[in-house]
């Protein structure tokens, strides 16, 4: 009986996450990377981090956002929600690419001008994430 309980606990622990849970996790990941881009851009403008590091982090964030987009595209979730998330990810990735290009030019004004767009993407991803979490529960 005890062994059966232990096996059941192991199965619960190792059970795969559902697609809706993965969708929600992907949105959290997106938010995290966008917030990182926002933070490192502000830090670079404030002369707190070297440009090489800022470029490296924004480049990594862009790759991660692309990867997250591919992962969301393969999930079996509500089609409207998925399309909305993918559109948002595409626009957010474009915004991070714009920041990357501005960093490569060492264009402080260019980076500064792109920050409100990143903040707006974060807000929209938050809203999508809240809806996804509500539907998961």
């Amino acid at each position: 009986m005890k062994l059966r309980h232990a096996l059941a606990a192991c199965l619960v622990l190792t059970a795969c996450a559902s697609d809706s849970q993965k969708f929600s996790d992907s949105l959290d990941t997106t938010r995290s990377w966008l917030a990182s881009v926002h933070m490192v851009s502000r830090a670079w403008i404030g002369n707190r981090v070297p440009v090489r590091f800022a470029r490296q982090l924004v480049d990594e964030a862009t790759s991660q956002l692309e990867r997250t987009g591919q992962s969301i595209a393969s999930l079996d979730v509500d089609q409207a929600e998925r399309s909305e998330a993918l559109d948002e990810l595409t626009r957010a990735t474009q915004a991070t690419r714009f920041i990357l290009a501005a960093l490569e030019r060492r264009d402080v004004h260019g980076v500064d001008a792109a920050l409100p767009a990143i903040a707006a993407h974060i807000t929209r991803v938050d809203s999508l994430s809240s809806r996804a979490q509500a539907s998961t529960q």
Binding site: L13, T14, S32, M39, A43, G46, R48, I122
Partner: protein, 404 residues
């Protein structure tokens, strides 16, 4: 006077030994994702490590034998063979993670990818171990390791809510992402209770020729060294909670963690973080490299001692040489230091029974320890540790599978 200096240096060593890539990665992720909610895991791990370090020092001081040697003698080669192989693999993975941490710190400073730094770091580390004596290694890395105090100053600068921090010292259930929460709780304990620490500490006590008169020193060093080390790690968790959690940043990459100090120390926070990671990982890498050589040499009954000339204990020196080379290959092949660290710390937690069960038995051997064997209090503490070790052993692998 001599003992006072040894206590001071021992405490510094304890702090330096406590704070490494494992604590950095698990602490940063815990703070960023769960604020102060996982401080209890650090507190529990610290109580356990204080007990185990005190016992490993007491055993070495009274018996004049380090742990691997004693375990082999007491349990025989057959019983020790499987734990020995597992521990060697764990040592190599931990060493790989620490070398990856140093390489990452160099990447922050130079922008040259960490993979390119891994082998040169390995060579420099080997050269340092080859040339330096035990005390030179121990004290130089520990004193430099004090740079990690910046996390305590940074946490004070963020003025964190005290009641929330205190509440974090009590275990609580997560509101979301339960799998990640428990995996981090387990990994924090794995980072704090890294097996290499006990083997290094007991072998160091034998190298320093501790005897029964050092039991007081051992007690102070284990309590204060590990205690202060835990306070630094708590500082890191608090800083990451204040900086990252409010912005919704999860530390999924070592690059994200590098922003941790840029708000508390605007102009030198980035450089300070790189130096702290580099120094902490260098100290820990030396300890893991030596612990690997101690464990292998004592198991096979070879001559060992970092204070000896490498020509006089060639097999001991060859062991850490090969160990460093193999471990440096892991980050050199591009394995992400953060992912390697998380895996290694979780495995540390899984394999804790291998370390704790022999402890319980050795520390009750009255033929060897006489009146210095464990009393009731220490035995109850160790039994609880063994129990927790078994829980970690059962839950960690399923958590790892689920999280991946």
């Amino acid at each position: 006077m001599k003992k006072a200096v040894q206590i001071a240096l021992g405490v510094l060593t304890g702090i330096g030994g406590f704070f490494d890539i494992g604590n950095l990665v698990t602490g940063a992720q815990a703070g960023a994702q769960f604020r102060f909610q996982l401080l209890w895991s650090l507190a529990l791990g610290t109580l356990m490590v204080i007990l185990l370090v005190e016992m490993s020092g007491r055993f070495a001081a009274v018996s004049k034998k380090a742990l691997p040697e004693a375990v082999r003698e007491h349990f025989g080669v057959r019983v020790w063979a499987i734990p020995f192989v597992v521990l060697i693999v764990l040592h190599i993975l931990t060493l790989g993670a620490e070398i990856g941490g140093i390489a990452f710190a160099l990447q922050l400073v130079t922008s040259v990818p960490f993979a390119a730094w891994a082998m040169p770091v390995g060579v420099l580390m080997w050269l340092f171990l080859w040339r330096a004596t035990f005390n030179a290694i121990e004290y130089s890395t520990s004193i430099l390791g004090m740079v990690a105090l910046c996390f305590i100053f940074a946490s004070c600068a963020h003025n964190p809510p005290r009641h929330e921090m205190l509440a974090g010292l009590l275990p609580s259930l997560p509101k979301n992402d339960a799998v990640q929460y428990w995996l981090l709780a387990v990994s924090i304990m794995g980072a704090v209770l890294a097996p290499y620490m006990f083997y290094f500490y007991s072998s160091g006590a034998v190298e320093d020729e501790w005897d029964a008169t050092y039991l007081g020193v051992n007690r102070i060093v284990s309590v204060m060294g590990m205690g202060f080390g835990a306070v630094i790690t708590a500082g890191l968790i608090i800083v990451c909670a204040m900086v990252f959690q409010s912005k919704g940043i999860r530390v999924d990459s070592v690059n994200q963690a590098a922003l941790a100090l840029t708000e508390a120390f605007p102009f030198w926070g980035y450089g300070l973080f790189a130096i702290t990671v580099g120094v902490a990982c260098t100290g820990a890498a030396c300890e893991v490299g030596l612990s690997l050589a101690y464990t292998v040499s004592q198991t096979f009954g070879w001559r060992w001692g970092e204070s000896l000339d490498p020509g006089k204990d060639a097999r001991f020196s060859m062991t850490y040489t090969v160990g460093i080379l193999v471990a440096a290959l892991i980050p050199a092949l591009g394995v992400d230091p953060l992912k390697l660290t998380m895996l290694t710390m979780a495995l540390n937690a899984t394999l804790l029974p291998i370390v704790t069960i022999p402890f319980l038995m050795l520390m009750n051997d009255r033929r060897t320890l006489r009146d210095k064997a464990n009393g009731i209090f220490a035995n109850v503490g160790t039994a609880l540790i063994v129990l927790i070790s078994f829980v970690l052993f059962v839950v960690t692998i399923p958590l790892l599978i689920r999280a991946s």
